[in-house]
């Protein structure tokens, strides 16, 4: 029984990682209706920036917020410079740009910071919260950060004019433009926010999985499974999905299918959700009148 609880809690901890990545995916999907394949690499790159800042002597939280700001601006810049020209191009063109970005970020990170793993400091070192044998302080801390980001997003979209404008721009670009919303800038802001959330996710993940250019490669896949399971257009659902994937993966891996098929769980989830219930557990069913 104790071993089982261990697996569940350890699954929740990794689930928190998937959840924050899923949140970033949802963010971009909500504002652009695309899945950004380079999301993970962008997050990794931001984390490297944070690492470099901390190495040069900045305090953790200064580096943290500086990195989030850099992520925000960088994400917007990418949308303005690279994606705006292909805004009206077919979806495949966009996908190619995403994959190009993935390769560029990955190899640039390797080139600048090399491929050896780096320890990344945690803002919640041992003893910050009640360390139990099930959870480390960092794991509790990072789950709290994920939930905090979720609440902040909810408040932003629900109660601020800018959030309202962003939702409008995503749902009905033409009408939004007519009432004076700058739709194109809203897309850029969506990219910026997604990159910023990715940066937070990266900084929360790095103390657990260690920082290297391929840090997010596996995580993005699980995050994607989580986002789809919860509903790709629902932040709450995505976070829930992330946790479910984390626990499911651990429990199934340890007791049912063996560790060799853990990744398969995520892939089966993706295919299963897309074929049986494409909107996910909590997604909105879009009905179009024809």
């Amino acid at each position: 029984m104790e071993a089982f609880l261990h697996q569940v809690f350890s699954g929740l901890a990794t689930g928190g990682i998937y959840a924050s990545m899923a949140l970033a995916l949802v963010m971009i999907y909500q504002s652009t209706h695309h899945i950004n394949f380079s999301q993970g690499e962008m997050a990794t790159f931001c984390t490297f920036i944070a690492w470099a800042l901390i190495e040069t002597g900045f305090p953790y939280w200064v580096a943290f917020f500086a990195t989030v700001a850099i992520g925000l601006v960088g994400g917007m810049a990418i949308q303005r410079i690279l994606l705006r020209p292909v805004e009206n191009a077919p979806i495949l063109t966009n996908v190619i740009v995403f994959i190009g970005l993935l390769v560029i970020f990955n190899s640039t990170a390797g080139w600048i910071f090399d491929h050896t793993i780096k320890a990344f400091p945690s803002p919640f070192p041992r003893g910050t919260f009640f360390d139990t044998q099930y959870f480390s302080s960092h794991e509790i801390g990072s789950i709290m950060v994920t939930l905090l980001v979720l609440v902040a997003l909810y408040v932003f979209f629900r109660f601020t004019p800018l959030g309202l404008a962003m939702r409008a721009a995503a749902q009905n670009p033409v009408s939004s433009r007519l009432v004076g919303i700058r739709v194109s800038w809203m897309l850029a802001l969506g990219w910026g926010l997604a990159a910023a959330i990715g940066a937070i996710a990266g900084m929360m993940v790095a103390p657990i999985v260690y920082l290297d250019p391929n840090m997010m490669a596996g995580i993005l896949l699980y995050g994607f499974a989580g986002a789809l399971l919860g509903g790709i257009d629902n932040p709450w659902g995505a976070v829930f999905g992330g946790f479910v994937v984390g626990v499911l993966e651990n429990v199934l891996g340890a007791y049912v299918i063996g560790t060799e098929l853990k990744l398969t769980v995520a892939l089966v989830l993706i295919v299963g959700v897309l074929t049986l219930k494409p909107t996910g557990l909590f997604g909105k069913v879009v009905v179009t009148r024809v």
């Binding site: 491929h115 993940v205 999985v209 260690y210 391929n214 060799e260």
Partner: protein, 412 residues
């Protein structure tokens, strides 16, 4: 006409017989004309050697080995070369991508016409060219990987490894456990691929039929897994008190840290692949890494006990002169130095017979060679049936700051 012919025949016989008596009594003497024999890539002036290395891509940390080799050849050339011939060393980037390796190696063999390739790095890249090299009969010498399959002279007479192979290392840990902890309850974590299974096989072979019952938990992970936390939890739950950790650096660090976090303190054996203090133990936490045991065969350049050792001092002087941008704490630079010295020994033995066949013959004819940066007591030995140059190691334990050697040299 007939008389003349007869005289000619008699004369010929006389000359032949006389010649026989003049030459025959000393069959051991070297041939009067120096029998310089060359294959493509060798000449009176130089020896052309090829290599692929991951100078870019995910395994680029290993690239420094190729740079160290080049720096050592520079030193050899400054000192006049080997038997009067300069070394020309062409080391190309393959990015650790097997298709790229094949392309580069074909270029080296067919276009540049190298005499042989040396210390190509990585199990997947070397596997990709294994058959090609043996079909072409071009030596694939001292490959930089610990897989066991490189020592198979019967089926692959043109390929040879160098470092202690994974199975040997696994067997050595098993022997140690049987001797020191015969009632151990062992948990094994391994990477689910050729590398992990190679170690596991050696370990199980070493434990033997009876010993395998000591393994209470055997879990694997995939390189795509974000963490191995769940596996560590499973192993702790099995009640194991001994842990054999067959993982690459990132996962090794994760496992060490997670074990400490959940309060699992087994006797911890870590494979040599991840024995780096800088890139594994420090990220995992030096305190968490205390008392981990691993096998070693090279002198660690950061280890204080070699400070006044002549071998180390020579290495340091060479680094400063020929590879000043190299990292003095990086043991890969020791590896590159030692493996290149082994090759230089082979080429010295070749003399003026620089055919591919003779290169292989001499590589398989190393007799107890001691290299300055190998741990004392560890020797390089090969024979036509033994294609594993280094087959012994010493165990060392981490004291929280550095590795401390203990016990004698252990062979498999």
């Amino acid at each position: 006409m007939n008389r003349n012919l007869l005289i000619a025949i008699v004369a010929a016989i006389v000359v032949a017989v006389a010649g026989y008596f003049v030459l025959a009594p000393k069959p051991e003497a070297p041939a009067p004309v120096a029998a310089k024999k060359y294959d493509p890539g060798a000449s009176d002036k130089e020896i052309l050697i090829g290599q692929t290395m991951p100078y870019s891509g995910p395994a680029s940390a290993y690239g420094t080995i190729g740079k160290a080799s080049a720096a050592y050849f520079a030193k050899i050339n400054d000192e006049g070369g080997i038997n009067g011939r300069k070394i020309k060393f062409v080391s190309l980037d393959d990015g650790y991508s097997p298709p790229k390796t094949v392309e580069q190696i074909r270029k080296l063999v067919e276009q540049d016409e190298v005499l042989f390739v040396f210390n190509t790095l990585g199990t997947p890249p070397n596997s990709a060219i294994h058959n090609y090299m043996n079909q072409k009969k071009v030596p694939q010498l001292f490959v930089a990987t610990g897989a066991t399959k490189w020592g198979d002279p019967k089926n692959f007479p043109w390929t040879m490894g160098w470092q202690p192979n994974y199975q040997t290392e696994g067997r050595i840990y098993a022997k140690y456990i049987l001797k020191e902890k015969p009632n151990a309850k062992i948990a094994v974590l391994y990477q689910n691929d050729d590398y992990g299974k190679d170690y596991l096989k050696g370990f199980k072979d070493g434990l033997g039929e009876a010993g395998q019952k000591l393994i209470v938990s055997e879990v694997s992970y995939e390189v795509t897994d974000p963490t191995v936390d769940s596996q560590v939890v499973t192993m702790k739950g099995s009640g194991a008190d001994t842990f054999f950790n067959i993982t690459t650096p990132k996962f090794a660090a994760q496992a060490i840290k997670k074990a400490a976090e959940i309060g699992w303190k087994p006797t911890h054996f870590l494979n040599n692949v991840s024995a780096s203090v800088a890139s594994v133990l420090r990220p995992a936490g030096l305190e968490n890494s205390k008392d981990i045991i691993t096998a070693a065969y090279l002198k660690d350049p950061t280890d204080k006990q070699w400070e006044n050792d002549q071998g180390y001092k020579d290495w340091l002087a060479w680094m400063k002169k020929y590879y000043p941008e190299g990292d003095l704490a990086n043991s890969f630079n020791v590896y590159g130095y030692a493996v290149t010295q082994t090759l230089v020994q082979v080429l010295k033995q070749c003399g003026d017979d620089l055919t591919r066949e003779n290169v292989m013959r001499q590589a398989a004819n190393l007799k107890d060679i001691e290299l300055p940066m190998l741990l004392p007591g560890i020797k390089v030995s090969t024979s036509p049936t033994d294609f594993y140059p280094i087959e012994s190691v010493r165990l060392q334990r981490f004291d929280g700051k550095e590795w401390v050697l203990f016990g004698d040299v252990i062979g498999s």
